[in-house]
Symmetry: C2
Subunit: 662 residues, 2 copies
């Protein structure tokens, strides 16, 4: 069908009206993008996007990511008009408590919202991740006879997103990886929140993107026919490159008093709502107005979309019948792995093994990856150190879209944002790796993974001063604690190879949020005094009794990771009344029943010492004001690992002394 | 003097030998860059850099930043040869405990090391900050008669640095700001740690930099004459643009077995030390070898440098005499501001004021900025929200290098790395601003500021669920706690305008590390029941008794920021035996004497309730196992701020209930 320009222009103005009325009603929010990109929205949702509002998670839908998440009313208006289950009443409750129209788009809260966005640049990374997932899905599931995956990922980003390093990392990766199923629309309105963009940027964006391997078109973002032409050209491009459309727009178009200026960015224009509404041809007495012809148009368009969907469904069913193995693989994406079943596939380590938990992770990963074919991994140029290569598989690259190992480059922030995109998509299970100290580089998307319940696994190694000679820049001392305080982030720091097996199983059985595995650089002994089963399953509970006292309980020593061996050694000196608790995951332990927690850490015993090669502060939660923490309240040191441990006092002697001082 | 190519080629090979021997001796470290960039080092340190090894902090030295900090032996070798106070014995103790040659360069540990580097990309941001400082210094201090500042900032970065988002943000800023005193040398060796760089990058770096406003030269990094020509051209460029030199090099040149491959990156080549040494013309029996002619050359070169320095010193003295005001301003950089003196300049707020602590910060900043003319500020496109504009001054931009307000764009990571650069330089006192939740974006350089004792001030606003409608993506709940665990990071969350005055004074009197000010979006009442002086000076101590009990002590309520009013309200309900403690800074409080801490939080009182609109975990350090925390163990909600406070239970009623349950 040809583009219905007059009708869609009307729809664009009514979408503007919805944004103005919603922002006016709650006196907050951002008008700039919903008004400036209204024609783009009209073309995408009224014509060009292939999706199914009645089945928002349809496998082969075009994904649309609003990276400039502050323009959330853009999404809510167009999703509402398109027929997603977002009643007008919810649009009216924009930014109100428990509405499905929160201030920034939140994944799982609103049908049709593909990603939680708002922190700038993240959505660009998410879109790159979805494009990766799309390429992976096509490679695995399409056959010469049946194409079940051929969707595009469309991302709308503003100047703010484009200035962010995370977006720059992600687009560099996309250019290198030739993700030609990705269309990035740059809402280029020359305005940022504070001022005209000329105050902070002067780059030639088209030249920059061409230099990193993208095709670029620059167009008038208010001319719907021109935009559609560019969009279709991008969709059909055969260059093998990702596609950038620089859409020159006027921010807040529709409110002449603020349009084209920084004042148009936020809610400032709402005070001109009445005159703006009149200028847009909207009735003065009817807020949140949608005309009957616009409703009718979108109802018809929905029918067209459903017809397309039905056609795909037929192909899909034929594909299922013809390819039962592939269909089973696809279906397996829905099944959460069972930790016990995974553990059964992981051979026990030799009792005389002595290896770093990162090396144990490598050994654990191989049978787990065999069991979970949709598990994929990646590393930020550190495979040789993080050891998380899926050895039986190849790299994901333009010549091998079926590969399960992604070389992200030295782009930790982009890597984690891309992993979120893969997780939002939901078909593949992403795991990514770098040095633990660089968790700081990837922290913004890690927070969003926790907020959005994304089951991303972070295999972050070199987890303490055990890093040694690389020194304080590379020795995490506060990093583990700083990650533990992120709600819904499960941080697991296993103490030996068997606990590492438990940690991987715990991470992979999780479906409602991310898990970080903090693994050592240095070799650790097997803690054979604890039964294998106890070590493995103890991790699933977050904490467990690693050494039971053999006399009346006098002290409890608590440790994680490489310090559990120190606590066990100290216990031998301290005597029979000492219990040692392994506490690899605070989050998991805190979720156990009060009875279980009491059985591990009885309230009656207050002579408690925690030992961890990190900052002590968070540990008082478990040792209280009467207890002591043997920790490191400073940055580390450059010297061989064992020397640093000694120099900073993380020793069995220090634990003994602390316990005896209580 | 013409370039002494044969001698410097010899020096380059001996520098290679120092790196090989040092890495071999400790069996760790990175050979790739010291060997691959040896000719670059020879030209810079043996000929081109204007510096003074006998006075490493000379004001007008060229700054050299090794962004690829893992190549630290590059620095140590050339600094040693140049005559810095780095004896050969220290080079031999590379990466050993308490040597001045740690695994990665650490500021303050080693003369001639301008910045702590290693986390990739940071040094590029630091160099941009130093270039900003250079422009600012020239604008303020040079006169038509006397040029005292005309140094260049030279940064050496590898592929890893160039892939990092922080570097991309910084170079975009540098291009926009036309920092033509900045020379970035890209050690382009086509290799990263894991693999050949072609596996992860395929950009046209020259085109990318041209697109963002840089001049670019591409040269052979092993041809010393060619490199010097490019370097001189960059120094003399009149385009007004920052200068990129893409130096094509062979990684690990000198060890044929690994040169030009990923194996050359780390310490792997050290096992070929003997044959490499022979190939480089180094004696087999003498490790850490430097020939007499090379020593003699550098001794002569040092004399040339000292002559140049003496000339400058004469100019400087003449300038001092002619410009006593400017000289006094320059000298003032050395004086740490006194908190009491600063507080005396800040008028008391009206007792009936009701304003957000960010707005109080705006009011506090103005007299403080008047008092401290070398204090500069910036915001990541949020001046309208962070309110930290120095109102009496203008923007720093290419047409006004004297401006004190820096518009960083939406580049939080770059901003904080640039702030570190300004702080390393040491003349100006940097403060930067964004929303607190985006501290995660700038966390890597914040960590480095703490590690390197840099007195950067972070004015981060919108500090809790009080953000309201913007929702959980914009509401920090874990952020304050996650920052508190960084060693040497002082986090201050003031409770009202007077505590805000104290917080600014505390931040600015600090010279040995960074301070973060967590300020509210929402208006807060004046807490007039506490004397103004108590509120202001209480902050300097980190914590103080905000309300003394008037009967035998039964409970202690502890709060920070916007929740202090809640604790005070709860105390009224709970009765006369209740004490309220304001604890705006854990770090400062923990540094007080045991007596003072006991006077505020007497050990005998264990009925303690902490209240803070954030995750509770860290608070057990003060309330112990018997106490309670009224906090938020989840992400926030999109709704008006007061609604969110109520919905998430941060209320006086909840505090009362918690206290009564003890």
């Amino acid at each position: 069908m040809p583009l219905q320009t007059p009708l869609l222009a009307k729809a664009a103005n009514q979408a503007r009206g919805l944004a103005i009325d919603a922002v006016h009603a709650c006196s907050s929010g951002h008008l700039g993008l919903p008004l400036g990109a209204a024609e783009i929205g009209a073309v995408l949702y009224g014509h060009a996007l292939v999706h199914n509002p009645e089945h928002p998670r349809w496998l082969n839908r075009d994904r649309f990511v609003l990276s400039a998440g502050h323009g959330s009313m853009f999404l809510y208006a167009w999703l509402h008009l398109s027929g997603y289950d977002i009643p007008l009443d919810e649009v009216k409750k924009f930014r109100a408590l428990h509405s499905i129209t929160p201030g920034h788009p939140e994944f799982r809260e609103t049908p049709g919202v593909e990603a939680t966005t708002g922190p700038l640049g993240q959505g660009v990374g998410n879109a790159v991740g979805m494009a990766v997932a799309g390429q992976m899905a096509a490679a695995r599931f399409n056959t010469p006879e049946h194409t079940v995956f051929d969707y595009h990922v469309v991302c709308l980003a503003g100047d703010g997103c484009m200035q962010e390093g995370v977006a720059m990392e992600a687009v560099a990766f996309a250019g290198h990886q030739k993700l030609d199923n990705l269309i990035l629309i740059y809402d280029s309105n020359d305005v940022t929140l504070d001022a005209m963009a000329v105050k902070t940027q002067s780059e030639n964006a088209a030249a920059r993107f061409k230099a990193i391997g993208w095709d670029v078109q620059t167009i008038d973002g208010h001319d719907m026919a021109v935009f559609l032409k560019a969009f279709n050209k991008a969709k059909k491009a055969t260059s093998g490159k990702p596609q950038l459309i620089i859409a020159k727009t006027q921010i807040a178009r529709g409110i002449p008093e603020v349009a084209g200026t920084a004042k148009g960015h936020g809610e400032g224009g709402a005070k001109f709502a009445d005159s703006a509404r009149a200028g847009l041809g909207l009735p003065a007495d009817q807020h949140f107005f949608v005309s009957d012809d616009v409703r009718a148009y979108f109802a018809d368009h929905l029918k067209r979309l459903l017809r397309h969907y039905k056609k795909w469904e037929k192909t899909f069913e034929a594909w299922r019948t013809a390819n039962p193995d592939k269909a089973a693989l696809l279906d397996s994406a829905k099944n959460a792995p069972n930790a016990s079943a995974l553990l059964a596939k992981i051979p026990a380590f030799p009792a005389d093994a002595k290896l770093a938990t990162r090396a144990a992770g490598r050994d654990v990963l191989q049978p787990v990856a065999a069991e979970l074919p949709l598990l994929i991994g990646g590393s930020a140029d550190l495979y040789g150190s993080t050891l998380n290569l899926i050895a039986a598989d190849k790299d994901f690259d333009p010549s091998n879209r079926g590969g399960r190992n992604i070389r992200f480059g030295i782009r930790e922030h982009g890597m984690a944002a891309i992993a979120n995109g893969i997780a939002y998509d939901g078909l593949f299970r992403p795991s990514v790796a770098t040095f633990l100290v660089f968790a700081d580089y990837s922290r913004p998307p890690m927070r969003l993974a926790a907020l959005s319940d994304l089951p991303v696994v972070y295999i972050y190694t070199h987890d303490s001063i055990g890093v040694g000679e690389d020194g304080p820049t590379h020795q995490p001392v506060e990093t583990v604690s700083a990650l533990r305080v992120i709600p819904n982030m499960d941080v697991i720091r296993p103490a030996d190879p068997e606990e590492t097996a438990g940690a991987f199983a715990a991470a992979l059985e999780r479906t409602d949020g991310p898990t970080l595995l903090a693994l050592t650089r240095q070799a650790l002994p097997m803690l054979n005094d604890i039964p294998v089963q106890t070590r493995r399953e103890g991790v699933l509970k977050g904490g467990y009794v690693a050494k039971q006292e053999t006399a009346a309980l006098t002290h409890i020593l608590i440790a994680t990771g490489s310090e559990l061996q120190i606590a066990l050694a100290a216990a031998k000196t301290l005597g029979a009344g000492v219990r040692v608790v392994s506490l690899p995951s605070f989050q998991r332990f805190d979720q156990q029943s009060p009875e279980y927690r009491e059985s591990v850490l009885p309230a009656s015993c207050r002579k408690r010492v925690a030992v961890e090669a990190g900052v002590p502060d968070l540990w008082y939660k478990y040792v209280g004001l009467e207890g002591k923490v043997v920790g490191i309240a400073r940055f580390g040191l450059s010297a061989p690992g064992p020397v640093v441990f000694k120099e900073l006092g993380i020793t069995a002697e220090a634990v003994v002394a602390a316990a005896q001082s209580l």
